[in-house]
C-alpha cells in the first residue's frame, strides 16, 4: 500500500513538475500582456522536438545527454518565445486580447504541422537526463529519470524566482507587468520587457518539453493537452499569480494520478473539469486568491 502510494506520488510529482514549468511560462505571459498564449502547449511540444533533434547531434554513450542539452534547449526556445512575441503579439498589441488568442492558435497550428512535416508524425523519445537506473524508496522503485526531472524543474523554478526577485532586470519585468503605464514613465522599454517575458516563457516551455520528452515521449499533436493543463492551473492558482499557477499544476498532476489509481482515468478527468467549474462558481478568485488588479 505504502509502496504503491510512493510510486504514484513520485510519478505524479515528475509529471507535475514539468506541468508546473509549463504553467509558469503561461502565467508570465498573461501577466505581461494580459493575453492567453494558446501556442504555449505547442512550445512545450516544440521544446521536446528540439531536444530530440539536438540529441541526434551528440555522440552516443554520453552519461547525461539531457543535462548537457538543457542550456541549448532553453536558449533555442527562448529565441522561439521572442519570435512568437514578434510575430503573434507585437503587431496586435493595440487589438483586443482575443486577437492574440487567435494569432497564437495560428502559431500553434504552424508549429504542429511544420514539426510533423519535418520530423514525421511518429512519437519520439528525447534524451535521458541522467543514466537509467532505479532507486528503492519504501519498497517503491523510483527511476533516476523521475528524480532528475523533479530536481531540474525545481532548479529552473528557483532560477526564475531569483531572476524575478533578485535582479534589476527581473524587477523591471514585474514592474512592467503590474503597471505598464507607470513602467513606461519610469523609462522601462516595454518592447524589451515583453519580448524578454516571452523568451523566458519559451525557455520554460522548452525545459518542460525536454523533461517530458524522455519519460513520456513527444508527438506533434501533444500541444493541446499541455495547454489545457496550464490554463486550468492558472485559474485554480488564481489568475495572474505566478507561483499559484505552478503549485496548482503540481496539484493537478497529483490529483489526476491519485484519482486515476483509485477509480479511473475517466473519473479523474471528469472530476478535474467539474472541480474547475465548481471552483469558478464558488471561489472565482482561485484557491490562492487573484493577483491584485489583474482582472481584465
Amino acid at each position: 500500500m505504502i509502496e504503491a502510494t510512493v510510486q504514484l506520488l513520485a510519478t505524479a510529482l515528475a509529471l507535475g513538475s514539468a506541468y508546473a514549468l509549463t504553467a509558469l511560462g503561461f502565467v508570465l505571459i498573461i501577466n505581461a500582456v494580459g493575453a492567453v498564449n494558446f501556442a504555449h502547449g505547442d512550445l512545450v511540444m516544440a521544446g521536446g522536438f528540439v531536444a530530440v533533434a539536438l540529441s541526434l547531434l551528440l555522440p552516443e554513450g554520453l552519461p547525461v545527454p539531457g543535462l548537457i542539452l538543457l542550456p541549448a534547449v532553453l536558449l533555442t526556445m527562448a529565441v522561439g518565445g521572442a519570435a512568437l512575441a514578434a510575430v503573434a503579439y507585437a503587431p496586435l498589441r493595440r487589438s483586443p486580447p482575443v486577437s492574440v488568442f487567435i494569432s497564437t492558435i495560428a502559431v500553434g497550428l504552424i508549429l504542429q504541422h511544420a514539426i510533423s512535416l519535418g520530423a514525421g508524425p511518429q512519437p519520439r523519445v528525447g534524451p535521458s537526463l541522467v543514466g537509467d537506473g532505479l532507486v528503492d524508496l519504501l519498497g517503491a522503485a523510483l527511476s533516476y529519470q523521475q528524480l532528475a526531472t523533479i530536481a531540474v524543474a525545481a532548479v529552473l523554478c528557483l532560477a526564475v524566482h531569483t531572476l524575478l526577485n533578485r535582479t534589476r532586470f527581473g524587477r523591471q519585468l514585474r514592474a512592467a507587468a503590474q503597471d505598464p503605464e507607470m513602467a513606461r514613465a519610469c523609462g522601462i522599454d516595454l518592447r524589451i520587457t515583453i519580448g524578454a517575458t516571452f523568451a523566458l516563457a519559451g525557455a520554460l516551455a522548452g525545459g518542460a518539453g525536454l523533461l517530458l520528452s524522455n519519460q513520456y515521449f513527444v508527438t506533434p499533436t501533444d500541444g493541446a493537452m499541455f495547454m489545457l493543463k496550464a490554463y486550468v492551473a492558472t485559474v485554480i492558482g488564481g489568475w495572474g499569480r505566478i507561483w499559484g499557477a505552478a503549485v496548482a499544476a503540481l496539484c493537478i498532476a497529483v490529483f489526476e494520478v491519485l484519482v486515476a489509481a483509485a477509480v479511473s482515468y475517466l473519473v479523474a478527468e471528469m472530476l478535474l473539469y467539474l472541480g474547475v467549474l465548481a471552483l469558478l462558481m464558488l471561489r472565482p478568485q482561485g484557491l490562492f486568491g487573484e493577483a491584485e488588479g489583474r482582472r481584465a
Binding site: 504503491a4 510510486q7 504514484l8 510519478t11 505524479a12 509529471l15 504541422h113 510533423s116 514525421g120 508524425p121 511518429q122 512519437p123 519520439r124 523519445v125 537509467d132 532505479l134 522503485a141 527511476s143 517530458l212 519519460q215 513520456y216 515521449f217 508527438t219 506533434p220 499533436t221 501533444d222 493541446a224 493537452m225 489526476e256 494520478v257 491519485l258 486515476a260 489509481a261 479511473s264 482515468y265 475517466l266 478527468e269
Partner: protein
C-alpha cells in the same frame, strides 16, 4: 489602402476560382485514376502515412500495360474532412478505386457515399461496425478485429496461460472496438478480464492503471492502444516491475513504436499483427522493405504492407481488363490475390485478410520474431 483592398480581392477571387475549379473530364484512353484519401495529419498521422506510403509504392509500379494516375489528400481526424475529400475525389478525379482511411469513424461516413457512386474503398480499417452497414464497396486488406483479436486473446490464454488479464484500451474507435472484440473472444475461451480501463490518448502516465491492474490481481496485460501509449504502457510496466506477460495490439509491431522503448523493456512482450515486414526474411519482402526505406526513410509496417497489397490487387484488376470502378469492385469481390503478406479473398462482405500473426521481442533487439501464425482464423479461405 486601395492596394490592400485590391490585393485582398485578388486573393479572394483566386481562392474562389481554385475552390470551384473545373471538373476534370476523363477521355477513354486516359490513364485511370486512383485516389489516396488517408489521415496524414492529426492523431492517426502515423498509421495514415504508412497507408499512403504503401499505396504510393504500389501505384508507382503498376504492372505492364496499366497506366494509373493518383492524388493524395488528407482526411485528418474528422468524418467531415474525410467526406469532403471523398466528394472532391469522386467529382474531380473520377477514380476507379480509393485508398481509404484506417479511421473507422471516417469509413462509416464515407462508405454510403462511395456506395452510391459505386467506387471501391481499399482500406486497412479494422472496426467491426463497418461490416454491419453492408456496403459492397468496402474492401479491407488488414484482418479485422474479429481476426486479430482472436489471435491476441488465444495466444494470451492458450499459450501464455493468462487467466486474469487486464485490458487497457484507448477511448478511440480503434480502442473501443478492439476491447469489445477482446472481451467476446476471452468469454468464448472462458476467461473474464479483471480490469477494463479506458485511456484517453493524451494520458502519459500509466502507473495508476498498472497499480489498479496489480491490485485486481491481473496476471497479464492485453493492450489495445495507439503507438505512443503502447510504448508508454510497455516501458512503465517494465520499470514498475509488473509481473506477467503483455500482449499488445498491432501498434506495437510498428517499428516506430518499438524504437521508443529500450530493447530490455520489450523482453517477452508480444503483439498481434497481420504481418511484420521488418521481421520477414523472404527475398520479396526484403526487397519491399528495402525499397520502402529508400523511398520514405522509414521502416515499413503491416499497415503499409496491407495497403500496398490492396492497391496491387486493384492494379491486378486493371491488368485483367477492368476499366470502371464497378468492374474493379466486381473483380475484387470475385478473385483471389496472393499479396506479399498473405493471400487475400473476400468473405462476401469485403473482408479480404484472414490471417494473423503473433510477434514477440527477445529483449536484445527491437526487431520482433514471428512466434505464432493464426491462418484462416475466420474459416473463409
Amino acid at each position: 489602402m486601395h492596394m490592400t483592398i485590391t490585393r485582398s480581392l485578388m486573393t479572394l477571387s483566386a481562392a474562389v476560382a481554385l475552390a470551384i475549379g473545373m471538373p476534370a473530364t476523363a477521355q477513354a484512353d486516359d490513364p485511370l485514376a486512383v485516389s489516396v484519401l488517408v489521415p496524414i495529419t492529426g492523431f492517426l498521422a502515423l498509421e495514415g502515412t504508412a497507408q499512403r506510403n504503401g499505396a504510393v509504392m504500389a501505384l508507382d509500379n503498376p504492372p505492364e500495360g496499366v497506366r494509373v494516375t493518383y492524388d493524395v489528400a488528407d482526411t485528418a481526424t474528422s468524418p467531415e474532412v474525410a467526406v469532403t475529400a471523398l466528394r472532391r475525389a469522386l467529382d474531380r478525379q473520377k477514380p476507379v478505386a480509393i485508398a481509404a482511411p484506417i479511421f473507422g469513424t471516417q469509413m462509416l461516413a464515407m462508405a454510403p457515399i462511395a456506395d452510391r457512386a459505386d467506387v471501391p474503398l481499399i482500406t486497412v480499417s479494422g472496426t467491426a461496425k463497418l461490416t454491419e452497414l453492408g456496403h459492397d464497396i468496402v474492401f479491407r486488406f488488414f484482418p479485422t478485429d474479429a481476426v486479430v483479436k482472436v489471435a491476441q486473446a488465444r495466444y494470451a490464454v492458450q499459450d501464455l496461460g493468462m487467466k486474469r488479464p487486464a485490458i487497457l484500451f484507448q477511448t478511440t474507435a480503434y480502442g473501443q472496438s478492439g476491447r469489445t472484440e477482446l472481451v467476446r473472444v476471452l468469454g468464448d475461451l472462458g476467461v473474464a478480464p479483471v480490469l477494463e480501463e479506458a485511456i484517453d490518448p493524451g494520458i502519459k502516465d500509466f502507473v495508476p492503471a498498472l497499480e489498479r491492474a496489480a491490485a485486481a490481481g491481473a496476471d497479464g496485460l492485453l493492450l489495445q492502444l495507439h503507438s505512443g501509449p503502447t510504448a508508454l504502457a510497455v516501458r512503465q510496466a517494465h520499470e514498475r516491475g509488473f509481473e506477467g506477460p503483455i500482449v499488445a495490439g498491432s501498434a506495437l509491431h510498428q517499428p516506430t513504436t518499438a524504437a521508443l522503448v529500450e530493447p530490455a523493456a520489450l523482453a517477452g512482450v508480444c503483439a498481434e499483427s497481420a504481418s511484420s515486414p521488418v521481421s520477414d526474411s523472404g527475398a520479396e519482402m526484403a526487397a519491399f522493405a528495402e525499397a520502402y526505406r529508400q523511398r520514405f526513410e522509414a521502416e515499413p509496417d503491416a499497415f503499409a504492407l496491407a495497403q500496398y497489397d490492396g492497391m496491387n490487387m486493384v492494379l491486378a484488376a486493371l491488368a485483367a481488363g477492368a476499366r470502371t470502378a464497378e468492374a474493379v469492385k466486381i473483380w475484387l469481390a470475385g478473385n483471389r490475390f496472393q499479396g506479399l503478406a498473405m493471400e487475400y479473398v473476400s468473405d462476401g462482405t469485403g473482408n479480404m485478410a484472414h490471417d494473423a500473426i503473433i510477434l514477440c521481442y527477445d529483449g536484445l533487439t527491437r526487431t520482433p520474431v514471428v512466434r505464432k501464425r493464426y491462418d484462416n482464423v475466420d474459416g473463409v479461405r
